[in-house]
């Protein structure tokens, strides 16, 4: 203890009463001295000042007896009754008010601020997700992007007249600019500028007019292209009729205009008359005349032609009788004489004939229909059943006819089903496999479909009468069409039923999945969301699948290409091969050497299409099997004298020897020793320079007797073959397909070629690519006008 206790007199303390306060204080200071920690004393304000340091505010302590409290000041309020109001208010406020919490320490506050700031940043940046993703997966990016400001050309600037290339152009532009009409127009424009809506309206109107014009043009073009004379004839006639109608209307409305129109028509007529059209002098008319003897139609056409020419000339007669007489043809006589003209009525005759024929056909069709309907109505029970099924299937058909048809279909279905069951019962003996006794709707329908198909197939040969109950299947002569419709019907039904079944199953599944599964699912989802965050919500695939290699560059240096290291590498490779591919020969039985004739070439199946052979193999195979024995015989006969087996084994031995790796002899005569004509090199030294190759792995044909497996045959090609599936591809099949699909214009059309070789990122030459602009994020509002 470092505190000296001598200066504190305990006896004295007990004695003195009056100086107790002082003593107490001293005691306290002494005790506080015992405490080694420094206590910060509450500061005292000595001078009045405006600024109060935040560090000098001290917490009020209970020990602080001398401090003045609010309650001390308010004591005086209770003395006077008039102050009661104030006192009450004061109490109320005191009750309500709370001391503010202590402000957070600075590091903690900063941390919170940073966290909030980061959340904001995150949110702000997440807006970019869709844009970035779109650009990442896009197959056609052109930089500078359209959104960037730098590339936007101001159209007015671009089209300004001062941009004329030649002097003349510039002068013209200047003159035009200064001309009063242009000035005036400009002023007007400035005076009444069109609003955006008006401009868009105007543009729309223009576009509409242009479109209509183009439609009309296209139509005219199309009609002009039509070669049918008949069509043109009809069109012309219609046109004339229209014109006449118009003319009549005009006559009533505006006689003067009508008169003008009449003159025009007259002029046209004159022109036509002046031409040699509608005479029988043209080549066409002559041909028709030749043909007319046997061809009714050409006769008709010619007659019409003549009639027109006659009309044309007739009018002249009516108009001006003074005109030349030679041209006038007397109509009456012509009508009577001309065999062509008499034929004009034949069209009507043809019509009559056709109508009669049509009537007959219609009646026949009706009869057919009736037959089927009667067939359905004849039986009531299947019909009811059918209606049941119809209701079950919930097929909604507004058309009564269609409904009737459906009914027939269903009836026949049920009937055939019965029939089927009967036949099954007959066919299947009791000891055979019993059929499952809970056939679903789908099954039934399938069955019926099968039977229907069978019936259809039979119908080609002969009629089938399937008797079942009261209803008789009508002979298939009339039923073929019905069967077809039935099959269609059932196809439709089948689809609907499968759909329904699926829906029901899914519903059931949903119901059946107990609540126990739900939290698990939730968990999964949670994990998913954790992992993905926002970016994965927008996962999309690239349209074009391209190999995306991410591999290290093959970086080599020329300095280290020494022979020894290469050799060691070679040896190591061979060793690794040795250790790696040891074929398991244990399970393979040894083959009988006598059977060597039977082994034929084995074709490996690849996914490559069979284009080259064109499916001829099947034919070959059948041939092969048939003539196998004969071939064998002939071959064995042919090689009767030769020792085939011995030859083969010799060949195999050769192959084995050839495939063995040879030792590498690095010995140079005279290296480190004397060399010369008569000097024998030292064998021991020589051996040191021979690099022994490791033993090769056992051959795959080692124990296979008369079989040579040549592993190295296509080694040259193997170097070019892909051993790994590249990244975006998930199956070998897809990758093979991608390699097989050609992209060059030698094999595919130019347009497809262009599309396939288009680079995914293009940049414009000399254009500055500015960073992404925030404008991309702004959704532009479509003006509704």
């Amino acid at each position: 203890m470092t505190v000296d206790m001598e200066d504190f007199d305990f006896n004295n303390y007990s004695d003195s009463d009056d100086g107790g306060d002082e003593e107490h204080k001293r005691l306290l200071t002494a005790i506080s001295k015992l405490d080694k920690r420094k206590r910060v004393l509450p500061s005292e304000r000595r001078e009045p000042s405006l600024q109060v340091s935040e560090f000098h505010l001290s917490k009020e302590t209970s020990s602080d007896v001398n401090a003045v409290h609010l309650r001390d000041l308010a004591k005086s309020l209770s003395l006077k009754a008039s102050h009661g109001e104030i006192a009450r208010k004061l109490k109320a406020t005191q009750k309500k008010s709370k001391t503010l919490p202590k402000p957070l320490e600075k590091p903690a506050a900063n941390k919170i601020r940073r966290e909030v700031g980061f959340e904001n940043v995150k949110e702000q940046l997440s807006q970019w997700d869709p844009v970035v993703l779109r650009n990442r997966i896009s197959d056609d990016l052109v930089f500078p992007l359209k959104s960037s400001k730098g590339t936007r050309l101001n159209p007015e600037e671009f089209l300004s007249p001062h941009q004329g290339a030649t002097e003349l152009e510039r002068q013209i532009a200047a003159v035009l600019n200064d001309s009063p009409s242009v000035q005036k127009e400009r002023e007007e424009k400035e005076e009444y500028p069109l609003s955006l809506e008006e401009m868009i309206q105007r543009r729309k109107e223009l576009a509409r007019i242009k479109a209509q014009e183009s439609y009309r043009q296209a139509k005219a073009h199309r009609q002009n292209k039509i070669k049918s004379k008949k069509f043109h004839r009809i069109a012309r006639r219609e046109k004339i009729r229209k014109q006449i109608k118009e003319f009549e209307e005009l006559q009533q409305k505006d006689p003067e205009a009508a008169l003008e129109r009449l003159e025009e028509i007259e002029k046209e007529r004159v022109l036509e008359r002046a031409s040699l059209r509608h005479k029988s002098t043209g080549q066409w008319a002559k041909n028709q005349a030749v043909r007319a003897k046997y061809d009714k139609e050409s006769r008709q056409v010619l007659a019409e032609q003549l009639k027109i020419s006659k009309d044309l000339t007739q009018k002249i007669q009516a108009d001006s009788e003074s005109s030349d007489e030679e041209l006038v043809v007397e109509p009456e006589s012509a009508v009577s004489d001309n065999p062509w003209i008499a034929q004009t009525k034949s069209e009507a005759d043809v019509d009559v004939f056709l109508s009669g024929y049509r009537k007959y056909w219609n009646e026949k069709a009706k009869e057919n229909q009736k037959d089927t309907i009667v067939g359905t109505n004849a039986d009531s029970t299947p019909g009811e059943k059918a209606s049941d099924t119809v209701s079950v299937l919930d097929v909604e058909l507004e058309d009564p006819k269609a409904q009737a048809l459906l009914k027939t279909a269903v009836v026949s279905y049920s009937e055939i089903k019965q029939n089927n069951e009967n036949s099954f019962a007959q066919m299947n003996p009791p000891d055979s496999k019993p059929e499952s006794n809970s056939p679903s709707k789908m099954k039934k329908v399938k069955k019926i479909k099968k039977t229907l198909m069978a019936i259809k197939a039979k119908a080609g040969k002969k009629t089938v009468t399937a008797s079942c109950g009261k209803w008789e299947v009508t002979p298939l002569e009339t039923q073929v069409v019905n069967v077809r419709s039935l099959v269609d019907m059932f196809d439709g039904l089948h689809e609907k039923i499968t759909e329904k079944a699926k829906l029901k199953i899914s519903n059931l599944k949903e119901q059946l999945i107990p609540q126990t599964n739900l939290p698990r699912k939730g968990k999964k989802e949670k994990r998913k969301t954790n992992a993905s965050d926002t970016s994965n919500l927008l996962e999309m695939k690239r349209q074009k699948v391209q190999i995306d290699l991410d591999e290290k560059l093959d970086e080599g240096s020329t300095t280290n290409g020494d022979f020894v290291s290469e050799l060691t590498e070679k040896i190591q490779l061979a060793k690794s091969n040795l250790s790696n591919d040891k074929p398991s020969t244990s399970g393979v039985p040894e083959l009988d050497p006598n059977k060597f004739m039977k082994t034929g070439p084995i074709k490996l199946r690849t996914a490559l299409p069979d284009e080259i052979t064109g499916g001829d193999e099947a034919l070959d195979d059948s041939d092969h099997e048939g003539g196998e024995k004969e071939k064998q015989l002939t071959i064995s006969e042919a090689f009767a004298d030769d020792d085939v087996v011995a030859d083969f084994s010799q060949e195999k031995q050769d192959a084995i020897n050839k495939s063995k790796p040879e030792d590498i002899n690095l010995h140079l005569p005279g290296w480190g020793d004397w060399g010369g004509h008569n000097i024998k090199p030292n064998q021991r030294k020589r051996k040191r320079f021979i690099v022994e190759m490791p033993k090769p792995p056992p051959r795959r044909d080692e124990n296979k007797g008369n079989l040579i497996i040549n592993d190295t045959e296509d080694s040259a090609a193997r170097a070019h073959q892909v051993s790994e599936l590249p990244f975006p591809f998930t199956s070998v099949k897809d990758f093979e397909a991608s390699v097989r699909a050609p992209i060059s214009n030698t094999f595919i059309p130019e347009s497809a070629h262009r599309k396939l070789i288009k680079p995914s990122v293009r940049t414009k030459m000399g254009a500055i690519i500015s960073p992404m602009d925030k404008d991309v994020l702004i959704k532009r509002q479509q003006k509704k006008l």
């Binding site: 965050d533 190999i547 080599g556 284009e611 070789i757 500055i768």
Partner: protein
């Protein structure tokens, strides 16, 4: 006897001029072309060989600096203009097509640390070891700067905001400045002694990232909160560059020979680790398309990476090029500029085998076709071998070998430890998670 001969009209197969293209009648039935794939493969093979033959990326050399080049600045509106600052305080303006120095002047005492143009391209800011920020007018060739700001703190890096007239410097603290004021308008500090590189986000223009000497990368928001997040890595990040097309991605060049691409929203794990350098990576710059970036390293090579891939697609080196101090990708996505310690600025093609100049349509189509063929058969071993083979100098080759051995050793050891310890005690840690120590909120 009438003899029928095959006669052909020469008009149908002879061209009058070279530009005439006759319609060649073809039957595209695949059955008639059984060797489609092999023929295309052969073409791809030829194409890839030719590509390697034509791969001559080095375009030119800009020499004239009397000390190592410390910084480069691209002009925002003129492609042919380049500014460079050196360690002796000299700034040079270059005309790239003519490869001449247009102007050079002593700007600072000591090293020029930062150089940047204002977005309108009318002024240039430079900053040096003499703690001054100088504004130079580009319109008149004045010897003196139009404005000089004396900073109270050491300055190490400078970056200009894209849209507003604000720029940021870093050194002891990160400070935000505004044109026309001589005091920083904001200054941010988050318990680090020194920041050596800072870069503004080009898309979200109120974000910036800085590399600190305590191995951390700090993200700032200039609007309100200041620093918002910090990620501490195993080794120091040397420089940082934001992706100009993807607002939330930035790449840092690290002392541990790698580059790391971060998604700002998930800084704990970098989105990608880009390997292949064999020395500390000093500088990184994105291509304006945001699809690739270039990096310069102490190993005296420039490498080009595709932004989403872990390995470089190209490595550039020359015998005399020493340690790189700065790299920069031109704004038309065609060229790369590199400044190095041995006082030269080199200009490279961004795509080594690209043909420069205007192309005729048929030429362009042919090049596109060859490109498509190369991508189609990229996985085929021979094509891959030729396309990816690069000759590198001996020191890089050896360094790579050494590193490979080291990595193998570590891997083997880890495997052994895993083999002899309880199952699950030594977990497999993906490469991406190995390099970040922690993320500070």
């Amino acid at each position: 006897m009438k003899v029928k001969v095959i006669s052909r009209n020469p008009d149908e197969y002879l061209r009058e001029t070279k530009r005439d293209i006759h319609k060649v009648q073809r039957n595209y039935d695949p059955a008639l072309h059984p060797l489609e794939a092999p023929r295309e493969y052969a073409r791809a093979m030829n194409s890839v060989k030719l590509e390697r033959i034509f791969a001559k990326p080095f375009l030119g050399n800009l020499d004239g600096h009397r000390d190592g080049v410390s910084c480069l600045a691209k002009h925002p509106e003129t492609l042919s203009f380049l500014a460079s600052g050196a360690y002796d305080g000299e700034i040079k303006f270059w005309d790239l097509p003519q490869r001449i120095c247009k102007r050079s002047f002593q700007a600072h005492d000591g090293c020029v640390r930062g150089l940047t143009f204002t977005p309108d391209g009318k002024n240039m800011l430079s900053m040096g070891d003499d703690k001054t920020i100088k504004t130079w007018s580009m319109e008149n060739e004045q010897e003196d700067p139009t404005n000089t700001i004396l900073s109270k703190t050491v300055l190490l890096s400078l970056s200009h905001q894209r849209s507003q007239n604000q720029f940021v410097t870093c050194g002891e603290v990160c400070q935000l400045w505004e044109h026309g004021r001589n005091e920083p308008i904001r200054s941010y500090q988050w318990g680090v002694d020194s920041l050596h590189h800072v870069s503004f986000n080009q898309v979200e223009t109120n974000l910036l990232a800085a590399c600190a000497s305590d191995r951390s990368v700090i993200l700032y928001d200039t609007r309100d909160s200041g620093p918002v997040r910090k990620v501490v890595m195993k080794l120091k990040a040397n420089s940082v560059c934001w992706n100009p097309m993807e607002a939330f991605n930035f790449t840092v060049a690290n002392e541990d020979f790698n580059l790391y691409t971060f998604d700002v929203r998930q800084m704990r794990v970098p989105a990608n680790v880009h390997m292949d350098h064999v020395g500390a990576v000093v500088s990184v710059d994105y291509s304006p398309t945001g699809k690739e970036f270039v990096s310069g390293s102490y190993d005296r090579t420039v490498r080009i990476y595709e932004a989403h891939k872990g390995h470089s697609r190209e490595v550039y080196h020359t015998k005399r090029m020493q340690k790189l101090s700065v790299v920069s990708w031109s704004l038309d996505n065609k060229y790369i500029m590199s400044g190095s310690d041995e006082m030269n600025i080199r200009v490279w093609k961004a795509r080594a085998a690209e043909k420069l100049g205007a192309l005729k349509p048929r030429e362009k189509a042919a090049l596109n076709y060859h490109q498509a063929l190369r991508t189609k058969f990229a996985q085929h071993p021979q094509i891959k071998r030729i396309a990816r083979h690069r000759h590198v100098p001996k020191h890089i080759y050896n360094a790579q070998k050494e590193q490979h051995a080291m990595r193998d050793k570590a891997k083997r050891k880890e495997g052994n430890v895993r083999k002899h310890s309880k199952k699950g005690a030594v977990p497999f840690v993906p490469e991406r998670k190995k390099h970040v120590i922690r993320e500070h909120e």
